[in-house]
């Protein structure tokens, strides 16, 4: 295989078809950009889950009378509940938080807000803060074990609140993947069409090549590489687009909740993690589409 020959043919092909090439690159870039956005959403979801699994707990709040009477969980009702929880293999640890501590936490969380000033320690319940050993089964088990017990007011599984956030991120992921799919169909058709046009404009060359006994590789490889090159350029543009998007939009959009440690920030390293995947998808899809097109529509 003469590399210089193939390179020359590819460059000529790309130049000759320049408007089509640009259209193909842009469509591929948009499609892959959407795929990349979806992948970033998936990554953010994973990282958010990690972030929360260490922090999220189940709060078993105690009734008013237990709360006010027992400041260190030494009385039978509270100690019994604590013991029951600690005996469960699904539970990692149990911490008692009395009314005063709950009040301190509350003041810290809502510092500067009028609500914090109105609150008195007596109006907050004491609670058993349960860290789970088993994130999946633990929440329900604690709920079942605690609900309705004497001294228990409510059982709050914080994961239920976080789940709403995950739902939102999951939605973002699904929408971008759906858009990416539609755009990918357009990109596929464009690649297929471009390969056909490219083969047609070079039918004389290809005719001569066939005549003098060039192998399939020689006649078809330039077209395939042409498609792959546009796919790769599209992927690179998509990656650049993601970086630009990160700095221009995502950073400011998420700045509030990122600062509050609600959602991890999208890092440059995340985009760098996504871009080789995009390049592989771009090159792979273009190569397969080009090959199928040459087989099906073009007699070379």
């Amino acid at each position: 295989m003469r590399v210089d020959f193939v390179v020359r043919e590819v460059l000529t092909g790309l130049r000759r078809n320049v408007t089509m090439t640009i259209a193909m690159i842009l469509t591929t870039a948009i499609s892959l950009g959407l795929v990349g956005t979806g992948l970033l959403a998936v990554r953010t979801i994973d990282r958010t889950e990690e972030l929360y699994s260490s922090r999220v707990e189940v709060r078993v709040t105690l009734t008013q009378d237990v709360s006010s009477a027992d400041a260190d969980c030494s009385q039978p009702i509270c100690a019994g509940l604590k013991q029951t929880l600690e005996n469960s293999p699904l539970v990692a640890s149990v911490t008692f938080e009395n009314q005063q501590q709950a009040y301190e936490n509350y003041k810290r969380l809502f510092a500067g807000q009028a609500l914090a000033d109105l609150l008195r320690p007596q109006s907050l319940p004491a609670a058993l803060r349960v860290k789970l050993a088993d994130q999946d089964a633990g929440g329900d088990a604690v709920k079942q074990a605690m609900q309705g017990q004497v001294g228990v007011r409510t059982v709050i599984d914080q994961r239920e609140i976080v789940a709403k956030l995950f739902d939102f991120l999951g939605g973002v992921r699904n929408v971008t993947f759906a858009l990416a799919l539609v755009q990918a169909i357009a990109a596929l058709l464009l690649i297929s069409n471009t390969v056909q046009v490219s083969a047609y404009t070079r039918r004389h060359e290809v005719g001569v090549m066939r005549l003098v006994g060039a192998t399939r590789w020689y006649t078809q490889l330039p077209f395939l590489i042409e498609a792959v090159v546009t796919g790769v350029i599209g992927a690179i543009l998509a990656s650049i687009g993601l970086l630009v998007g990160k700095f221009l939009f995502i950073d400011s959009l998420l700045s509030g909740i990122v600062a509050d440690n609600v959602v991890p920030a999208v890092q440059v390293s995340d985009v760098l993690w996504v871009s080789p995947i995009l390049v592989m998808i771009g090159a792979g899809v273009a190569a397969v589409t080009g090959y199928v097109t040459l087989r099906a529509y073009v007699r070379l």
Binding site: M1, V208, V212, G213, A214, T215
Partner: protein
Amino acid sequence: MIRLERVTKIYKTSTRPALDRVSVNIEKGEFVFLIGPSGSGKSTFLRLLLREDVPTKGNIYVADLNVAKLPRRRVPKLRQRIGCVFQDFRLLPNKSVGENVAFALEVIGKPMSTIRKVVPEVLDLVGLAGKADRMPNELSGGEQQRVAIARAFVNRPLVLLADEPTGNLDPDTSQDIMLLLERINRTGTTVLMATHDHSIVDSMRRRVVELDTGQVVRDEARGVYGVGR
């Protein structure tokens, strides 16, 4: 070198066979004219030799290759042993004379060092020494056909197929092209030329195979174009 055994070709779109039980044997180094009116099967004959098509029935051998049964991936091997020249030259207009000839070697993977050596040689052989940098549209018809012949011959094929190579040329230029084909024939290359040109066939006095409605109606060792017709 070329052997057809009861070759029949029926195109899907036609009921009458394009070739009807054609048997021809051409030895190495022969110069053969393939003549006959339009639609007599000359083009089909050449297409089958090049494996552009497969026969409906019968066997075809070129050199040691069984053309009809050749697997797809070995077709290039066959075509590398056959040079081809056409009425319309089929040069690439955006490549120079030298590049056109070199192209035929590049696409079958010959190294650059070989190409640099043999292209000037073959251009010299066809009488185009010094015109390697000209573009095809700067050349006369006869010169363009010489480029095409150079391209067909540069890989030293065993067989040269020529489909009406003088069809677009005036009689004097045609004569020059025939001299060139004769010279190539003298190097041991088998030449098979399809033509309508009476005067060329009559003056060369070579073997003539005449086709009519797909059948061989005449095969003479030293024939002329139109005996008894």
